[in-house]
């Protein structure tokens, strides 16, 4: 595996197992860079990275911006609420404007599924998907994968549970694809209205009973539940959701002692996850955020044509 021979990073589906491992290996090197005192390397010197977020986000946008800055790129953030988008400019025109200003990388988050794919078909620059609708959030899945690899060395044979609103989750879609490609067994769990049978196509198992599933899991990834879903009769109340699907202190006792607890953030404390569990030693929720920066540095590096970094280089630096 040489390098990521692609213009864009749009989803996990189109990545091979080898590409996922390459990104994770490279992220390991950048995590060393990022956690030392002098945090920048000149990989993207003279390049421009533009973050274009059509949906509110704190951690993902900051994480991309920080990653780009540590690679010495010029970064610009387009605050969509104050730009000409509010005046009715189309996505295509907005991005062509950025291209005219010679942006090399467009990182986009958008509420409409496939918006980054639509963009990538129509512009020359690199598009990195920072999350689109219910469809994909590939950098989240890659950082989740990296975080598990860091703890366990391999995903082969691990049983990973993803709990919550699977239907509307771009994280769940990408996680299932990444985890199964690396040999993990994935079980999805949530209310039947939020867990379509079609997810079995990815080789995932489906259950509605969290209590039966918990003792089997090596890793549990708790998704954020959106309160708005209640309005569409997808579940009757937050109270009932908590009753059936929250990882409470009580439930946590049923888990394996070394279970890894993950959450893509932002957390609804007290709804999908109790405080005690979120802050316990099994939780790697904050580390996921740190790893996110390293993984995004690796993605920029590899999309820029960077070669795989050997172990010696890692140690030498």
């Amino acid at each position: 595996m040489n390098s990521l021979n692609r213009k864009d990073l749009l989803d996990i589906e189109s990545l091979s197992k080898e590409e996922i491992l390459l990104i994770c290996d490279t992220a390991k090197y950048f995590k060393d860079v990022f956690t030392r005192d002098i945090k920048s390397v000149p990989v993207l010197r003279g390049k421009t990275v533009c973050t274009l977020f059509y949906e509110p986000s704190t951690r993902t946008r900051l994480s991309f911006e920080l990653a780009a800055k540590m690679l010495s790129a010029n970064t610009i953030n387009v605050p969509v609420t104050t730009s000409s988008v509010v005046k009715g400019e189309s996505l295509i025109d907005t991005v062509r404007t950025l291209e005219a200003m010679k942006a090399d990388y467009i990182v986009m988050r958008h509420a409409a599924s496939l918006a980054p794919h639509f963009l990538s078909k129509n512009i020359k620059g690199s598009v990195i998907n920072g999350g689109d609708g219910f469809h994909a959030h590939p950098t989240q899945a890659l950082l989740d994968t990296y975080s598990i690899l860091e703890k366990r060395g391999s995903l082969e044979g691990l049983h990973i549970g993803i709990i919550g609103d699977i239907k509307h989750s771009r994280v769940a879609r990408c996680d299932v694809q990444a985890f199964t490609k690396l040999g993990a067994r994935v079980t999805l769990c949530g209310p039947s209205t939020l867990l379509p049978d079609e997810f079995r196509q990815y080789g995932a198992d489906i259950t509605y009973n969290l209590d039966e599933l918990l003792p089997e899991l090596d890793v549990i990834n708790m998704l954020r539940i959106q309160r708005e879903r209640q309005k569409g009769s997808l579940f009757p109340s937050i109270r009932e959701y908590h009753l059936l699907y929250a990882l409470t202190e009580e439930r946590f006792k049923k888990c394996k002692p070394d279970i890894i607890v993950m959450h893509p953030g932002p957390m609804n404390r007290g709804i999908e996850l109790d405080d005690v569990v979120a802050d316990c030693p099994n939780s790697i929720i904050n580390e996921q955020v740190t790893n996110g920066v390293a993984v995004r540095m690796a993605i920029f590096y590899l999309l820029a044509g960077g070669k795989p970094l050997s172990e010696e280089e890692t140690e030498g630096n």
């Binding site: 589906e13 189309s90 996505l91 295509i92 958008h110 509420a111 409409a112 599924s113 496939l114 918006a115 794919h117 639509f118 078909k121 129509n122 689109d132 609708g133 219910f134 469809h135 994909a136 239907k167 771009r170 879609r173 379509p196 079609e198 997810f199 196509q201 569409g232």
Partner: protein, 429 residues
């Protein structure tokens, strides 16, 4: 001075004719049909060697956007596209701006259409404003020249309104064309609900959103003795429902569009909003169901649902782009390629759906080749290979998911009311 169409293979689905016959046209009528007819010196001869000679085609479902969105398409512009595509008669849908819910607007369309090359028959709204609440002045509208009632683009969600519409329209013996979609079940979906919608993270529209409403309206047609025609059937289940309705002796007919027998929702990932239409492209099982429905005759009609949209409106995120694709120009090539070539339909089986069947449903004296009948004739070369790209279209709007397709069948000549209105490569009028 007559027009003589010679050396062709004449297909007249109404009479089941498939034979080497020549046609003579005088004025707006066919005056002779026979073998080896000799033209007079002054006559115009159309050499149809190697071609099919068909009744002028009828598309009973087009959107010409006038009045209101003349920037997208007009009645005149749409009529020219239709002539180039082999169609001599079209039925325009009334969901314009304003909607066609009164006689004055019906007359406006007929007046505008008179400037164009082909016959345009307006459909008018079932309900005032197309809002699905109160029925429109159907009596006056019927007298104004409309051929059908429909709120196409939107369903009549209210069951009692639909019941009254079916009851009231009986007096005028005009069909109610149903846009069968349960809006609450469709739930603002963007594509077919299934493996692909889950994969792509796009909200899905289940087949049942269509089927529930077809079932309701078949029952209401039974209750009222009205006449219903289901627009743009897309699912195998819908075909089954119509089949059962017909078997039960209920007065129901239906149409499908060429994209439903040519494509599946696999096209969405590649073409994005260019493959966004309502109802959506379904699965291979549905596509097969549609083809078998056409073969058995449960599906009476092929209509294009020709829906031009401005490029800037289509070139948006899936969620924001409007529903609909253009269909007139690809209609004949898709019928020939998918039905005749790929699925062994006879020409009569394929083309009764765009000639005598829609004429029967709409009570038009068209769609047939007979002495004394209107001289609407379409000449098609079924063996010409065409590649679909932007240059293939004369339509201002090219929003469709067939770019790159290799198809067969070219429209060589279109004659409407005895007037040549299109010859391949040149628009005559």
């Amino acid at each position: 001075m007559a027009i003589v169409i010679k050396n062709g293979r004449m297909i007249d689905p109404a009479s089941g004719t498939d034979d080497g016959l020549d046609i003579v046209i005088n004025g707006d009528r066919i005056t002779d049909i026979g073998r080896n007819l000799a033209p007079a010196a002054a006559d115009t001869v159309v050499d149809a060697a190697g071609c099919l000679v068909l009744p002028g085609l009828i598309d009973m479902h087009v959107h010409f956007r006038e009045p209101g969105r003349e920037d997208v398409e007009t009645i005149l512009g749409g009529s020219r596209v239709a002539a180039k595509s082999g169609f001599t008669s079209v039925v325009t849908m009334p969901n314009t701006q304003p909607v066609i819910d009164n006689q004055a607007l019906v007359r406006f369309i007929i007046m505008e259409a008179a400037k164009g090359p082909i016959n345009v028959f307006p459909a008018a709204n079932i309900t005032k404003g197309g809002k699905g609440e109160e029925i429109a002045e159907m009596g006056e509208i019927a007298g104004g020249g409309a051929v059908a009632f429909t709120d196409d683009g939107r369903p009549v969600m209210n069951s009692i309104t639909m019941r009254r519409a079916l009851e009231y329209s009986r007096m005028f013996n005009m069909p109610i064309l149903t846009h069968s979609e349960d809006k609450s079940l469709a739930d603002e979906g963007l594509m077919n609900e299934g493996l692909n919608s889950i994969r792509l993270g796009l909200k899905g529209i289940p087949n049942e959103a269509e089927e529930v409403m077809i079932a309701r309206d078949i029952l209401l047609t039974r209750l009222t003795g009205g006449r219903m025609h289901v627009c743009h059937v897309s699912s195998a289940g819908s075909v089954e429902l119509v089949k059962r309705g017909k078997n039960d002796g209920i007065n129901v007919t239906c149409e499908t569009a060429p994209h439903y027998f040519s494509l599946t929702d696999d096209a969405v990932e590649k073409f994005l909003s260019m493959a966004k239409m309502n109802p959506p492209l379904r699965t291979e099982k549905d596509r097969r169901g549609i083809i078998e429905g056409l073969r058995s005759g449960v599906i009476d009609v092929i209509a294009t649902d020709h829906a031009p949209h401005a490029l800037f409106e289509k070139m948006q995120e899936m969620e924001y782009a409007p529903f609909g694709i253009v269909g007139l120009e690809t209609s004949v090539p898709l019928i020939i390629t998918e039905l005749v070539r790929n699925n062994n339909f006879t020409y009569i089986q394929a083309f009764d759906k765009v000639t005598c069947n829609p004429a029967r449903i709409l009570k038009l004296d068209r769609g047939v080749l007979k002495v004394g009948g209107y001289a609407d004739v379409t000449v098609i070369n079924p063996d010409t290979k065409i590649i679909i790209d932007d240059s293939f279209f004369i339509s201002r709007c090219k929003n469709m998911p067939f770019t790159g397709s290799e198809l067969y069948g070219s429209v060589e000549h279109t004659i409407c009311n005895g007037r040549p209105v299109y010859s391949r490569g040149q628009q005559v009028s």
